[in-house]
């Protein structure tokens, strides 16, 4: 930082430590739950670790109920689904935001609003007609059916639109003077400038795809397309019996490891003052 203020530094850390305690506390509870037996958990969640971590890990690793696909296949399906959704959303959003900000064409505002209202009405609420469309297109039990209906993203389009609006007009004017067309400007200037926002979106959208449960459940009836969240839910889905929370929490925490890798990897793209240095 610019100047050295020990008290402010101390305060910063204090705020963040408190923040981490508040925000990550439920994760802590889940991790602690990994180390106990189901009997302990069914009469209240403990705060200190128990001694059952290894046996729970083994139990989850070897959990292979008939009717559920092998663990590795579910991990593969979830990863693929999350990656397709992440890349797809970012790709189609960034170009549509580019069109909306850097071009003027009839129905521009209408296009923006049509995209925008996908924020409203989550899939659960309009599930029956959406399923019908996917079934009529023959997309049940396919990666296309798993991902394409979820790929439209108002959030990402809106974010890119906001970001493009902050880029000084001079940059585009300068590019045009240099004879750069819209494609070259997009590739050589906008895309590199958007790095930080793309990184943030990668994290959010990967996790979005990773934790999807209801949609994959509905559109896949064949185990070759089952995802990890479906497996976790099937493990947890107990009717009239007490769930084995120790195993469920172990599975859930394990399922949080790929997202954390994405979080760490994407932070490399968080570079300060991008706009300024390129100016």
């Amino acid at each position: 930082m610019v100047e050295n203020r020990p008290f402010l530094g101390f305060l910063t850390h204090l705020v963040l430590i408190a923040g981490v305690i508040v925000v990550a506390f439920p994760v802590y509870v889940a991790i602690i739950a990994m180390t106990h037996t189901d009997v302990t958990l069914n009469s209240g969640a403990p705060l200190l670790p128990g001694a059952e971590l290894i046996s729970n890990l083994i139990a989850v690793w070897t959990f292979d109920p008939p009717g559920a696909p092998p663990f590795w296949l579910m991990v593969w399906n979830s990863t693929l689904m999350a990656l397709i959704i992440m890349v797809g959303k970012i790709a189609i959003s960034i170009i549509s935001a580019y069109a909306i900000v850097y071009f003027r064409f009839p129905f521009r505002t209408l296009a923006f609003w049509i995209i925008f209202i996908t924020l409203m009405l989550p899939v659960e609420v309009r599930i029956i007609p959406t399923y019908e469309v996917v079934a009529n297109l023959g997309m049940l039990n396919s990666y296309a059916g798993l991902t394409i209906p979820l790929i439209a993203s108002a959030t990402a389009t809106f974010l890119f639109r906001q970001f493009f609006m902050t880029i000084p007009d001079e940059m585009m004017e300068a590019a045009r003077v240099d004879g750069a067309g819209p494609l070259k400007f997009f590739r050589d200037i906008l895309l590199p400038l958007s790095r930080t926002n793309i990184a943030a979106l990668c994290i959010i959208l990967f996790i979005y795809g990773w934790v999807q449960y209801l949609w994959p459940l509905l559109v896949t009836t064949r185990e070759e397309h089952f995802t990890l969240m479906m497996g976790v839910r099937q493990m947890a889905g107990a009717q009239e019996v007490d769930p084995q929370w120790n195993l469920i929490m172990t599975a859930v925490v394990l399922a949080m490891l790929p997202p954390v890798l994405i979080v760490i990897a994407m932070q490399r793209l968080f570079v300060k003052g991008l706009v300024e240095t390129e100016k």
Partner: protein
Amino acid sequence: METKRTVFPNKLLPYLFVAPQLVITLVFFIWPATQAVKSSFERTDPFGFSTQFVGITHYIRLFQDPLYLNSVGRTVVFAVAVTAISMGLALLFAAAVSRLVRSSQFYTTLLVWPYAVAPVVAGILWWFLFNSSTGILPYMLRYFGVVWNANLNGTHAMILVIIAAAWKQISYNFLFFLAGMQSVPHSLTEAAAIDGAGPLKRFWTIVFPLLSPTTFFLFIVNINYVMFDTFGIIAATTNGGPNQATNILVYKVYSDGFIGLNIGSSSAQSVVLMLFVIALTFIQFRYVERRVNY
């Protein structure tokens, strides 16, 4: 809606650029949504064997139902509280992290990671924390003389769902605030520091205004999150209870439609909710956006 001063002159290119997103939106969102709008004027059984046109019967019934109208008020309380808490804390954390160099990755990871908690189990984590018999927080609250019972006390239940819904969004807001702060030019803050402005003053006079496009984005996205995407958290914690204390509009849409299979009425509720939020968003684009610094 604000636009750029200068634009590219191409005629066909912008259509090619918006086409993929528009096609997917029209096929997988707009078309199913029009089906929902259509069924809001119909009375039908879940399997769709007998369908009769009933006009605006469902709408009239909604607005005559005192329970529905009560739920509007609750929704406002819920929406304001969740948005304020999640955005406020996220901004604070992002400002703090962006001051740091060496440990910023460490804090960022820990603050963002909880976003990956699967909704499938988020409910049970809140139950571990908040249930009246063996929960951790009620146990602590007892030291302060508070008898926590979200099963019967409506205020407690509301606090619980606000915390749960805001928590889910803090990581999200934090990440985008942080991304936004990365693009605030260093030279500006440095110049202000040389002029003797303290860190707090620099934040409010330079960083915060430059962050306004992100803030506006997050504000709109959060309102939409609260209004449309929080039914899962309510289903996992309070089920809208006790005695409707946490029955917000979108939860009612979900419980009448998804659980109760009352498609006509729940479609009418979705339409009302959508119109309401579209109007709200439109007003924000019209008036609030003018104060955004692009």
